[in-house]
């Protein structure tokens, strides 16, 4: 439309969902899809019940269990931990009472909420998507506006299908060029956080753009957007393109036929207009990115694998020096140690960041024909029953098992220490998850965030390792 102010992808989706603007500028924003899980909903349903309210649009709501679920056979005989069991049973009662569609634990569609949304064709371009979980940013890979909310907001969406929101600022992260061998979307997202810091995106929605982003497959874009929150952003997004449309067309529950055609025609209008205003822009060259690994207890404390542990004495100020020293003490590492010399006890390949079929393939390609180092426990946890089924159809489970990896059942697993998969104090883990906070994977656990290929290489080496030295022996 000539004469209209150029708008960003975020602006267009935002504008299309404003139900009403309140006098102070707060928008009542319509929500197209509300994904829910067992941890952040019990108090929301209790609130509805106490106020005599129902769920306005159960058809736009989907529930699944993921955080509390064990990844071994014990899940099929009932959850052992009584508190975890109560939380799951509470969700199961609530979905019946409020008529919300639910994917039960025993369904092959069960999985991590941020894996199943796109996979089933529920998370679509142009949508507003929320979930009581900060990694909801993942769904922005579809070209949607997707963000995490707290339990009071979960209750608000259940009751009204809307949220009271102030518009975010626009930020664009450009990544141009060709990603080097051994690097993946995980290395891009870690490198971006290393550049902008954990609060670099606060108040903003990040749109990732540039040919290195366009070159990523949908799983890679999900990994990228998943960690937007670790850069402080409200959401991460990638403009929808032919890859997005093809992905949606192959989902079981996505629109089909004429509905899909109409949807695609609309989705093609969504990418940011030429000349649209961004409040902040950041540029990276893909060629400059090397396989990344975190050394500290914040995702911004990340370095190329060839680097050494930094020296707090080099910190720009006393606060940072003290913070770095605290991180080194917690991580049990010393300034100047080479990162590749850090021995690992556990390797975790999974989580909403990296548990899709492409991640399973990346890990298996490195593992094939090799062996996990003695004394290392290596877990591979597919993100959903459908990912697991596909991986098994491709024989990836056999490759991984033969190499000494454990092949587990779908769950959030060792990302956050809420289910039986946990680190014990002092254990060091190369993990494909998203947070290296103190105690995140279990009290006293030490987390190094890496890509699936880097995690597989660490498992084989027994220490953090440069995946470029472990390229596939043959194609899997």
């Amino acid at each position: 439309m000539s004469g209209q102010k150029p708008r960003t992808l975020f602006d267009k989706i935002w504008d299309a969902h404003v139900v009403e603007t309140l006098p102070d500028g707060t928008a009542l924003l319509y929500i197209d899809l509300h994904l829910t899980h067992e941890v952040t909903t019990p108090q929301a349903y209790a609130g509805l019940r106490a106020a005599g309210r129902g769920v306005r649009r159960p058809d736009l709501t989907l529930a699944v269990v993921d955080h509390n679920i064990a990844t071994d056979a014990s899940r099929y005989t009932g959850i052992v931990d009584p508190e975890s069991r109560l939380q799951v049973e509470t969700l199961e009662k609530n979905v019946v009472e409020f008529g919300v569609p639910y994917i039960p634990l025993l369904s092959e569609r069960q999985g991590i909420v941020h894996v199943i949304g796109p996979e089933l064709g529920r998370s679509l371009p142009g949508m507003t998507i929320v979930c009581g979980d900060s990694h909801t940013a993942t769904h922005g890979a579809m070209g949607a506006l997707a963000f995490g909310i707290g339990t009071s907001e979960v209750e608000h969406v259940l009751a009204t299908q809307t949220l009271l929101q102030k518009p975010a600022k626009n930020m664009r992260v450009w990544v141009e060029g060709t990603l080097p061998v051994g690097c993946s979307a995980k290395d891009i997202t870690l490198a971006v956080i290393g550049k902008i810091g954990t609060a670099g995106g606060t108040g903003h929605v990040i749109e990732y753009a540039g040919d290195a982003i366009r070159a990523l497959d949908m799983a890679g874009r999900m990994t990228l957007c998943n960690m937007a929150i670790e850069g402080g952003a409200r959401a991460g997004m990638v403009a929808p393109d032919e890859k997005t449309f093809e992905y949606v067309a192959n989902t079981p529950d996505g629109p089909k036929g004429a509905a899909l055609e109409a949807a695609i025609a609309y989705w093609k209008t969504l990418p940011s207009d030429e000349g649209a205003h961004f409040d902040k822009e950041v540029r990276l060259r893909a060629e400059d990115i090397a396989p990344q690994v975190t050394w500290g207890t914040s995702p911004e404390d990340v370095l190329p694998i060839s680097a050494s542990v930094p020296d707090p004495a080099s910190a720009p100020n006393e606060t940072r020096r003290a913070q770095m020293q605290r991180m080194l003490d917690y991580m049990g590492i010393e300034a100047g140690q080479k990162l590749v010399d850090l021995k690992v006890d556990v390797v975790f390949i999974g989580s909403c960041t990296n548990s899709r079929i492409e991640d399973m393939r990346a890990a298996a390609a490195i593992a094939k024909g090799r062996q996990v180092a003695p004394g290392v426990r290596a877990l591979v946890v597919p993100g959903s029953g459908l990912v697991k089924k596909q991986a098994e159809a491709e024989g990836l489970d056999v490759v991984l098992r033969e190499a000494g990896f454990e092949w587990r059942e779908p769950s959030c697993s060792m990302c956050l220490g809420m289910n039986p998969d946990k680190l014990t104090p002092g254990q060091r883990c190369a993990s494909t998850s998203n947070r290296n906070f103190e105690g995140r994977q279990g009290p006293g656990g030490r987390t190094h965030l890496v890509s699936p290929a880097m995690a597989a290489a660490a498992a084989l080496a027994g220490h953090l390792a440069d995946v470029r030295e472990y390229q596939p022996k043959e194609s899997v």
Binding site: V19, E20, L22, D24, T26, L28, Y30, D32, V39, P42, Q43, A46, A51, R56, D59, L60, H67, D81, E83, S84, L86, L124, G132, D133, S134, T136, G148, I149, G150, T151, S152, E153, H156, A159, T160, Q161, T162, L164, K166, T198, A199, T202, G203, I229, G232, R234, P255, A259, A262, T319, L416, G417, M418, R435, F437, E438, G439, R440, P443, G444
Partner: protein, 203 residues
Amino acid sequence: MQAFTVLTGIAAPMPQANIDTDKIIPARFLKSIERSGFGKNLFANYRYMPDGSENPDFVLNQDPYRKAEVLIAFENFGCGSSREHAPWALLDFGIRCVIAPDFADIFHNNSFKNGVLPVKLPRAVCEQLMEDSRMGGNAKITVDLEREVVVRPNGEEIPFKIDPLRRHLMLNGLDDIGQTMQHVNAIDSYEAKQRAAQPWLNR
């Protein structure tokens, strides 16, 4: 929600940036289906030793900070997970206000929904307030949402700003679902319009 008007109390200094929600309440304590009872596990990994005894070095285990109602910290407070259990745990412990240079977005939102007031003040001011708070029980500070000022123990007033709608809801302890329900007709017509324009969104 409990209203927040004026609070005068003891402030505890936590001179750290990036105090994440896993620090505030570790995930293993998120299994309750209630809103209350999280206070005993607030900062659990720092408050308690591995054997469960109190860590005497942790600020909230020291007098007078056991009774702290205000927390003062550095940048990016509440980063990480969306868990509302973080403000629930602060509230359950007795903390009604956090003062920091800035906050992570989701924590900031969640706090307002629970009557925990996040106050943004420049780092130099936070450092000053931390110094004040180290004077202990004789150095109470006042946080006045009505007038939007923090009052130091020496009587100096420091202004802050809160979004008008949030301030209104907080001063009156209002539930924002009730507020939104007043717009139900607008939501109805939005849905009708969207159903016609984007049929693929409805199942």
